[in-house]
């Protein structure tokens, strides 16, 4: 009998600490799949953020480092500059990347560092208990926006992919989600593409993944997925924003 479904070798066979219905587990798996398929497990180094995914070093079966809050792109820069032969990716959430770490991501992107960044956007702080993120949507209730995010007070959600796509140093940007198999496959293709471009020395790749947080959205996992489809995609449109390899 042919095995048609196995756990990727790059993902440890351990239970994660993620809540039921959380998107991180899926994204971890997609990265692990891509690493296996590209055959780079022995030369990849991942950087975990501060936030829910901080323990990613316990789940990936390759070298992983933890960075201070928001600093993963700077850490990645140091690694890649010192060892260009290693494949470096940063895994960051929305608070980590778009709030405290905005300077680091913008400048690493603008320098065109040959790294890959996977940005998990669930529009809320998870680890600290559901506070407003820079990507929290207008009207979305969080611990620190109990009446819902107000544009007049908290500004509007930051579209990081659009922000980064404008820089000449950025070579690939795509926003995906993981709400259904088609989208999951698309996300995996984007992750793989970003890593492949790095392997080929083609430069900075960025994949934003809209991901559910049932716990701090106060929704059932299935309803949370629906929320992405019905509301989040409207604010954060899916699709490829930039690809220097795109066929003309």
């Amino acid at each position: 009998m042919t095995k048609v479904f196995t756990r990727p070798y790059s993902l440890k066979d351990v239970e994660t600490h993620y809540c039921g219905g959380c998107g991180h587990g899926i994204v971890h798996r997609l990265i692990a799949d891509a690493v296996d398929e590209l055959g780079i497990r022995e030369r990849v180094v991942g950087i975990a953020p501060v936030g829910c995914a901080v323990l990613a070093y316990d789940y990936f079966n390759f070298d992983v480092c933890e960075a201070a809050h928001g600093r993963a792109p700077a850490v990645a820069t140091g690694m890649k500059r010192a060892r260009p032969d290693l494949i470096i990716f940063a895994y960051q959430g929305d608070g980590d990347l778009a709030a405290i770490g905005m300077a680091e991501i913008i400048h690493a992107a603008n320098r065109g560092e040959n790294i890959s960044v996977f940005f998990v956007n669930n529009a809320v702080y998870g680890m600290t208990g559901g506070q407003m993120a820079p990507t929290t949507m207008i009207g979305q209730k969080t611990e620190t926006t109990p009446r819902g995010r107000l544009m007049e007070q908290e500004g509007s959600p930051i579209r990081v992919s659009e922000l980064l796509a404008q820089f000449d140093g950025v070579k690939f940007v795509e926003r995906c989600t993981i709400t259904k198999p088609k989208n999951v496959n698309r996300t995996k293709a984007a992750i793989t593409h970003a890593l492949r471009m790095q392997i080929e020395g083609k430069g900075f790749g960025f994949v934003e993944i809209l991901s559910p947080c049932p716990t701090y959205w106060g929704l059932q996992p299935r309803v949370a997925m629906k929320m992405i489809e019905e509301r989040m995609i409207e604010v954060f449109p899916l699709g490829q924003l930039k690809d220097i390899e795109e066929k003309k």
């Binding site: 030369r43 390759f62 070298d63 850490v75 140091g78 500059r81």
Partner: protein, 357 residues
């Protein structure tokens, strides 16, 4: 092959780092150490190294973190306000046990202060600066040559203990031009960096992290770090004790004020006064015992520093006798003039009726 030349402290430090095998420098412009970034931007490409002008000191220290995590020798330099911004990163470097070198060419503070030479970051360097129970070895050069030599030492000590090492010098030492010789030294048996993130080829994956959540795990991690710090205290204390045997007056100073003191020492010795100089070279670990021995039997210990009084607290801890300690502290990014030290010495001579020849 050794090379000789005239260089300012900032450039000498940069060249010494390269001679010590450092190929990664990350920095952000700040006066009075801008010669380092300028020098590295020229020199690193020549030796196949990397120079990144970072977007901030926060980013610079984290780039050092990244390079250190994959096992490279990396360093950054800055001046006081920039070093404040690096404190988070230094705490992480210590917590993650990543060898790295950080140079602070100190200027006047607090706040933006001025760009004059200062020693007001002594507390920040020796007491932690960042959060958590950690220590960094702190080296304090007094000349351009010593600044260069200490860069070799700093990289070796960082690798030996898997710990960040700081070199702190007042702005005078960054700017002053002196002869300097670079002679590559054989580094002692340094431990292999088998913990580094180099890709898990032929081994189990490595991880570098400072989040330690398990029961008692962080306690154990801290005990391990503390044991390392005790070993540093055991083996790495460095100081210079000049004519302190039987001295009536002992001057205590580091960095450029120690040079002012040294020239006065000659003058007073010629006049037959028994006066000595104690110069800590490692500010942490501090030579408490050596200073106590040197000061044994002396009438007065005069601490000379370009701050409102920071080194003096370690002198207090060493001597446990405030009645024989006096401070000449000058804050605000101002150089201590020779006549100011001399006038303090004269006061002591008069007050204690100390005899010359």
């Amino acid at each position: 092959m050794s090379r000789k030349g005239l260089m300012c402290g900032n450039e000498a430090m940069a060249e010494a780092a390269i001679t010590a095998g450092c190929r990664c420098y990350f920095g952000y412009p700040i006066t009075p150490q801008n010669e380092v970034t300028a020098y590295m931007s020229r020199r690193m490409p020549e030796v196949g190294g990397q120079f990144v002008q970072s977007e901030s000191e926060v980013a610079a220290i984290n780039m050092v973190f990244g390079a250190a995590a994959i096992g490279a020798r990396a360093f950054t330099s800055s001046s006081s306000p920039g070093i404040s911004l690096m404190q988070e990163g230094i705490s992480y470097l210590a917590g993650n046990e990543l060898p790295s070198v950080i140079v602070n060419i100190m200027r006047g503070g607090p706040g933006l202060g001025n760009i004059g030479p200062s020693q007001a970051d002594y507390f920040q360097a020796t007491r932690g600066g960042g959060h958590g129970d950690y220590r960094t070895i702190v080296l304090a050069p007094a000349s351009v040559q010593e600044l260069a030599d200490q860069m070799f030492l700093a990289f070796d000590l960082a690798d030996k203990y898997r710990n960040p090492v700081m070199v702190i010098a007042d702005g005078v030492l960054g700017q002053i031009v002196e002869p300097v010789e670079f002679s590559p030294k054989e580094t002692a048996n340094l431990p292999k960096k088998d913990w580094a993130l180099t890709g898990c080829s032929g081994r189990a994956p490595n991880k570098i992290r400072s989040l330690v959540l398990g029961d008692n795990e962080l306690l154990e991690h801290n005990r391990k770090l503390q044991a390392k710090y005790r070993a540093m205290e055991e083996s790495e204390i460095r100081y210079e004790s000049l004519e302190t045997d039987g001295a009536d007056i002992i001057l205590v100073a580091y960095g450029s004020p120690s040079r002012t003191c040294r020239s006065l020492l000659k003058k007073y010795r010629q006049e037959g006064y028994r006066i000595g100089l104690f110069r800590p070279i490692t500010l942490w670990p501090f030579p408490y015992k050596a200073l106590a021995e040197a000061a044994h039997g002396s009438r007065m210990v005069l601490v000379v520093e370009m701050s409102a009084g920071q080194l003096v607290e370690d002198v207090r801890l060493a001597l446990l006798n405030d009645s024989i300690i006096r401070l000449l502290g000058k804050p605000g990014g101002e150089v201590i003039q020779s006549h100011e030290v001399q006038s303090e010495i004269e006061k002591i001579i008069e007050e204690f009726k100390i005899k010359g020849r």
